[in-house]
Subunit: 243 residues, 2 copies
DNA sequence: ACCTGAACACCGTTCAAGT
DNA sequence: ACCTGAACACCGTTCAAGT
């Protein structure tokens, strides 16, 4: 009797002293940690549960399913991409946004296959950033359909390059795959592929399609900066023409 | 008796009359067909085997593993992206390349998560296209590090936008996910997100992050064309500066 | 050479049961 | 409310065996 009363009146019981005390935040943190270490191909809910010392099915109280958890992981990993404070020129602001985004993804490269190629992680970051980009482009002078297009160009540029740069290597049979690629490259003849043969030293493992490591091991810094400048000056050109 | 002799002497026995007669080409074709209809999330080797009327393990004689098969699928789906014949200006050629690439991906939208986000499909298309792009950029005037950067910019642009545009919606719980997104958008207040609220009709389901269908149902034609022009004029600008 | 067939070590998810 | 525990319907892959 007393205990029942105490339960009803006292503060929250805390279950047991050293109970796992699961929560969505803990699950997401453990899952991101696992994803960082093992990659998406070997990521499983059962491993997450194991890491938390809990039954696999316990996760389902806090998370609806695997895809939803993956979306939460992405949102959590990118929570600090929040836009920088206003700078004068819109180009400076966008440049900073692109760099910050890449910097955050680089901290958790294994989320790359989840950001560009899956719609699930869409609005995870909230609409704050969307509003800021729209306001910025509006302020720069984009209007109507031009603004919609410019917005899509910005997002595609922001996410596209980074998704490619950190694309995950195959988990299974990586050695065979690497070997095949290296053999393919080393057998390049200047008679059949003259330009490729000439530039091969600068291109091998440092250019898309011709690499066997991703941005986690071989960051494409120079290419990324070029990409930013191309997009920014291209946008500026479009703005000039639209008036 | 007769049959046995005929078997030994006659041309290749064909095993049985209506035998599956498996081959890598047949497997890839069946697999792509399945991928087109069901999506990557529900794609399985066992289903491929079922479609071919064969034991799952039979596939392993022709294909080393699942990832390798996925790479073959992508290569097969994009086999017609071969570069168009030479045009005068490098910009015209690249514009045509971008459009052709998107057109082919659009025929098999479910390969999108395999192209940008997985290194496995790297050199599947062969080095022919790489050589042509390099030669084109060299001819346009890019040299040394500028050429390497320009090449990476071109590939990132070519693959990036399309990967995003055809990013796959979540297979599980799609209704919940859609509902949540639509509710989030319909609750946008002009007091908190003024620009977003103003442009919401043009943006909803027609802009990255704010859509619940991908390019297969809602193609972003205008945005794609803008993206191309931004990249091309940006590259031209860089070329001007580099001399 | 090419496929069958059994087996292994996994999955995500549902649902009843406990506390 | 939150977790255990059993169970279901799957996976990819290895390996021996058949023909």
């Amino acid at each position: 009797m007393k205990t029942i009363v105490a339960k009803k009146i006292g503060r929250r019981p805390k279950r047991k002293a050293n109970s796992p005390d699961l929560s969505k935040a803990k699950i997401v943190a453990a899952a991101l940690n696992l994803l960082d270490r093992r990659g998406l191909d070997s990521f499983s809910l059962r491993d997450v549960a194991r890491a938390l010392g809990v039954y696999p099915t316990a996760l389902y109280w806090h998370v609806p399913n695997r895809n939803a958890l993956l979306a939460e992981i992405v949102a959590h990993a990118l929570r600090h991409v929040s836009p920088p404070t206003d700078a004068g020129d819109w180009r400076i602001w966008l440049r900073e946004l692109f760099r910050r985004y890449r910097r955050e993804v680089r901290r958790h490269p294994n989320i790359a296959p989840l950001i560009g190629a899956r719609l699930v992680s869409n609005a995870g970051a909230g609409l704050e950033l969307v509003e800021r980009i729209l306001a910025l482009l509006d302020g720069a002078g984009f209007r109507g359909r031009s603004l919609v297009d410019a917005y899509n160009v910005v997002i595609a540029a922001k996410v596209g390059f980074v998704t490619l740069e950190f694309a995950t290597p195959p988990a299974k049979g990586i050695d065979d795959w690497k070997g095949a690629l290296e053999r393919q490259l080393s057998s390049v003849q200047s008679s059949t592929y003259p330009t490729l043969a000439r530039y091969l030293p600068e291109l091998a493992n440092r250019a898309f399609i011709l690499r066997w490591e991703n941005g986690a091991d071989q960051p494409l810094d120079a290419a990324f900066e070029s990409f930013i400048e191309v997009v920014l000056s291209g946008l500026a050109e479009r703005l000039r023409k639209s008036r």
